[in-house]
């Protein structure tokens, strides 16, 4: 296929086209992804998440810039950035972010940036993000930064894509930030306090250390939640957890302070994963999650293709009239209706 071949040759326009096809869930995009899939698995996938106001985008930009200034031109890492904004389901808000970045990293052929706004369902977004990361991986980007807003289940799902997850905090962001941290803390491999020149940074660090001590073992997120649970060897994971204690790093992204240390910590986490088998384990969980997501979408589409639309509408009418509960309706559709 011409598109896939062009992507492998490093054609940026071809990559941009492919990413659009993946976002649009086109069959052409799927075919190209399948062709590219054997070439994936090389990139270090780095998730970056945190509440609004923590300065994620600035930090991601600075990290990318740092990687692009390291060493000789020939040995410089290629950096992909995927900015996922599940909070913009209807608007092009993410595009503005793109423009701001473009000014910053403009013209560097070793950086590729893609912003994604949510379209329709969250499942669709996670699936498209996985596809976009794969395409960049196949295209030869060594480090792929996956940036998401917020700290909800959506972000946990997207962070599950990554080998290394960075959770960003900042001093003085309001009262119930603490509550949010509890859940997100357990997916964090690295903790960053950005805007560390602001007042309250010590209190933020104390709060983070406290949350870290309370956090449950990372085990749970490596179990898959579908009906088909693959039990991960929990001793292995606990061993991984016991050894890797998420460091807390202070950064002032706007000034570049602490960015080099962050890049070092990212590299240390990668080495740790490789030495403990964590890299392969995360790969497997990630790919299983992707398999299940696609499987689910196919099952629903196949059912709708076979089921008579008239029956579906009649059943819906009965639910609205409170003659059938939604559960009873599904039974009626699956038994009485099409396959």
């Amino acid at each position: 296929m011409i598109l896939a071949a062009s992507v492998l040759e490093g054609n940026r326009l071809a990559l941009a086209r492919l990413l659009t096809q993946i976002e649009n869930d086109s069959s052409e995009g799927q075919a190209a992804l399948s062709e590219l899939f054997p070439r994936t698995g090389q990139a270090h996938l780095i998730g970056v998440t945190g509440a609004p106001g923590t300065g994620k985008s600035t930090l991601v930009n600075q990290l990318a810039r740092f990687y692009r200034q390291q060493g000789d031109e020939s040995e410089r890492k290629q950096v992909g950035i995927v900015a996922v904004d599940p909070s913009s389901p209807f608007t092009g808000g993410a595009i503005l972010g793109d423009r701001v970045r473009m000014r910053d990293l403009a013209g560097d052929p070793g950086v590729f940036i893609r912003s994604m706004a949510s379209r329709g369902s969250l499942g669709g977004l996670a699936r498209a993000t996985a596809g976009i990361v794969q395409a960049m991986d196949a295209a030869g980007y060594d480090l792929i930064l996956i940036e998401t807003v917020g700290a909800g289940q959506a972000e946990v799902d997207i962070a599950r894509l990554a080998h290394t997850t960075i959770v960003i905090e900042a001093p003085g962001l309001g009262d119930d930030i603490q509550a949010i941290k509890a859940g997100i803390m357990e997916i964090a491999d690295l903790l960053v306090i950005n805007k560390a020149d602001r007042p309250g940074v010590d209190a933020t660090e104390r709060a983070l250390r406290g949350s870290l001590q309370l956090a449950h073992p990372v085990e749970k997120i490596f179990r898959h939640h579908g009906p088909q649970v693959t039990e991960q060897p929990s001793e292995q994971i606990l061993a991984e957890k016991r050894i890797w204690s998420p460091p807390i790093l202070r950064v002032v992204a706007t000034e570049g302070t602490g960015v080099q240390e962050l890049a070092q910590a990212i590299q240390q986490h990668r080495q740790f994963l490789e030495e403990t088998g964590g890299w392969q384990r995360r790969e497997r969980v990630r790919l299983q999650s992707e398999l299940d997501t696609i499987l689910q979408a196919f099952l629903v589409a196949r059912w709708h293709a076979k089921a008579p639309d008239q029956l579906y509408q009649q059943i819906l009418d009965k639910i609205v009239a409170r003659e059938l509960s939604p559960w009873q309706a599904v039974q009626a559709l699956l038994n009485g209706g099409a396959a």
Copy 2:
């Protein structure tokens, strides 16, 4: 069924038990919900969402307290509160919130509070929330406040449950709050600036007015995103949108300032929906969304029950080895495997 009957009689313990069964996705809970379903459709479902730090919980508490102090004891509204926290997938963080509330609204038999943390998939959370709201509706709660953290797709999905959606802002919550508002603005029926005694409230109101003008018609969220799209009559919806312009209300929830005006605006929105047919339209979209969610879960469970686990694991091995892409794997599973 005894449980359903006890819930209809107003037995709080029975309701609490049923909600736990719904959260656990038990077949007993499903059966009870189906039995209760004909008694639903009476409650006014009010979604309340906003970023962390906007003071959602305090506002929801004050609204509940206001409703419980209106009129004679006999004519007082019964209030249900469902606090959904998709950001706490692993911890009991929501329970702490419960305790804080309990102190506030303690001992009032006309208030029922339930906190939910995300379990596993987001789809599961939305489904459980829908079930919990239905159970409270059948149990006779007149107003059900559905509170969610954040402004992501998760919250949009949960807000879709409601007849009236309130989006809360607060002055001075950081730089990239603006970006978040774009998406959430289009689901807002009422906009609240909480903590309106703080500096910056005028700037926040200006920003909200600007975002409101930019917001696209509400139409899109009333189209369903599944493969089986029911086209809503868009002229009707645009008419609804043209007439209803979301008011911006200033509130200081901690002091109760503006809470009465908010309750009035909620009532006005309800009247507006009833007069324009919007109430029925939202009911239908909500129930269709619920139908599709349950249908999807059933399809996936049915497939896994039939498919040989060994085949699934073999296929997953091939993905990890990059011999099959996830898309190819799904084809192999659906064609070569079980139904």
